[in-house]
């Protein structure tokens, strides 16, 4: 990353983050009637350089270590906080973007600003320059983490491999009648497509179609397999089983038509939506079936770059 870009990203973050995201919420306050002599303990124990003064939930001032030192010099340790505190204070609202805080720090040169909730004007936090730095670093870390994860994805594989034609093949075996395992192939394929960096819409359509087909294998047959071929233009998924086959393919494609036995319906399927769903979520679907021999379902989902061209 060059310097220029870093600045831009941080500036972007100061607009994106809210004061509420970075401020310190666990705040110490003192009452205006407290003698200055007791201030030392509060500041020292919490290792802070200033503390808001609050009476009946209302922010009335702010008192800092400088005020304390002045009192020491002038031997006024018996004075009350209310006589020495800064009364005309600048505050920020929790829902303001961080950039407002940055600007106020620049403008006034204060060490801290009390933060109020816009609704009831109550004190909800305090923000210092170090809170801003910590907040931005934390956010940058998570941005970086996302970027790393994205890079890990294998989406560049098609660019890295040198060949006239490239396709990837993934094969999954599906057990018949075992509903505990139904879904493993399609969720596996979904994860794989995600790692390949395909768009969420494509992944979702491929996952739903494969899942419906997988449920069909489990519900109606003794098992089969799912083979996905992925090339830079499309995803082709072939779903094959060894029977019993579909007697009336046209009827099977009608929404609502189902021959599902009771146990399949109890599991939430067999509503006659499976094949129509597959058809709707794919760009091409070819269903061939021979009774007693088996069913061969081929679906194609075009990848977005090529989808709009035809």
């Amino acid at each position: 990353m060059d310097n220029n870009k870093t600045t831009t990203k941080i500036q972007e973050l100061t607009y994106e983050l809210k004061i509420d995201d970075v401020m310190c919420k666990n705040i110490e306050t003192v009452s205006s009637k407290m003698p200055i002599s007791q201030l030392r303990d509060v500041l020292y124990k919490k290792r802070i350089s200033g503390v808001p003064v609050v009476n009946d939930d209302k922010l009335v001032g702010i008192v800092s270590i400088e005020d304390f030192i002045k009192c020491m010099e002038q031997e006024e340790m018996d004075a009350l906080v209310e006589d020495k505190m800064t009364k005309n204070i600048k505050t920020l609202y929790a829902d303001e973007p961080l950039v407002h805080a940055v600007k106020k720090f620049e403008k006034y040169g204060f060490g801290r600003f009390p933060v109020l909730s816009r609704k009831d004007k109550k004190l909800v936090g305090i923000i210092t320059k170090s809170d801003i730095i910590k907040g931005i670093l934390k956010k940058l870390e998570s941005v970086y983490h996302d970027e790393e994860e994205r890079r890990y994805r294998a989406s560049h594989i098609f660019n890295d491999i040198v060949a006239d034609e490239v396709f990837l093949k993934f094969q999954y075996f599906v057990e018949g009648k075992n509903f505990d395992k139904a879904g493993e192939a399609s969720t596996g394929l979904k994860k794989t497509l995600y790692r390949l960096g395909l768009s969420p819409d494509i992944i979702r359509r491929a996952a739903i179609s494969t899942y419906e087909a997988e449920i069909n294998i489990v519900a109606y047959t003794d098992g089969g397999e799912i083979i996905a071929y992925i090339d830079p233009h499309q995803i082709k998924i072939i779903i094959i089983d060894k029977g019993p086959g579909i007697p009336d393919v046209e009827k099977a494609l009608q929404p609502g038509f189902s021959t599902a036995p009771g146990w399949v319906r109890e599991l939430g399927f067999g509503a006659g939506m499976g094949l129509p769903n597959i058809k709707k979520f794919t760009d091409k679907m070819t269903l061939r079936s021979t009774v007693e021999k088996g069913t061969h379902l081929e679906i194609i989902i075009k990848l977005s770059d090529y989808r709009n061209e035809d």
């Binding site: 509903f179 969720t187 979904k190 899942y211 939430g268 399927f269 939506m273 979520f281």
Partner: protein, 120 residues
């Protein structure tokens, strides 16, 4: 709508431990028929269902559903919870009926997902 709001509105119990408070739930759907859920044209963020088997989680996973809420106090078994955790799906249970759960969420501004018209 944040998960925490939904937890309150449905008086729900969380079965998958801590959840990401930043997740935004925008669209809801409700059905006991998983194929119906799969037929919706857009990713719903919450599924309310009375069906408690492992295919509910598989359905949620392939359809990009982030939150599954089982209604009428039905408690899913541990296998279901574990699969949900593995796939970053949050699971709630509520004692409310499907009708009341949907009604409360809808009243609070949660939108219904649109149906992917099969005849289109």
């Amino acid at each position: 709508m944040k998960l925490m709001e939904i937890e309150e509105i449905l008086e729900a119990e969380v079965l998958t431990g801590e959840y990401d408070p930043e997740i935004e739930i925008e669209i809801g759907c409700s059905s006991d028929l998983m194929s119906e859920v799969l037929a919706y044209g857009e990713p719903c963020s919450i599924l309310l269902t009375g069906l408690t088997n492992i295919q509910v989680i598989n359905t949620a996973n392939v359809a990009d559903i982030k939150l599954v809420c089982f209604v009428m106090g039905k408690i899913p078994d541990e296998k279901i919870i574990n699969l949900a955790k593995k796939n970053d799906i949050t699971v709630f249970i509520t004692k409310l009926t499907t009708f009341e759960s949907c009604g409360r969420l809808y009243k609070n501004g949660l939108k219904s997902c649109s149906y992917f018209d099969l005849d289109k």
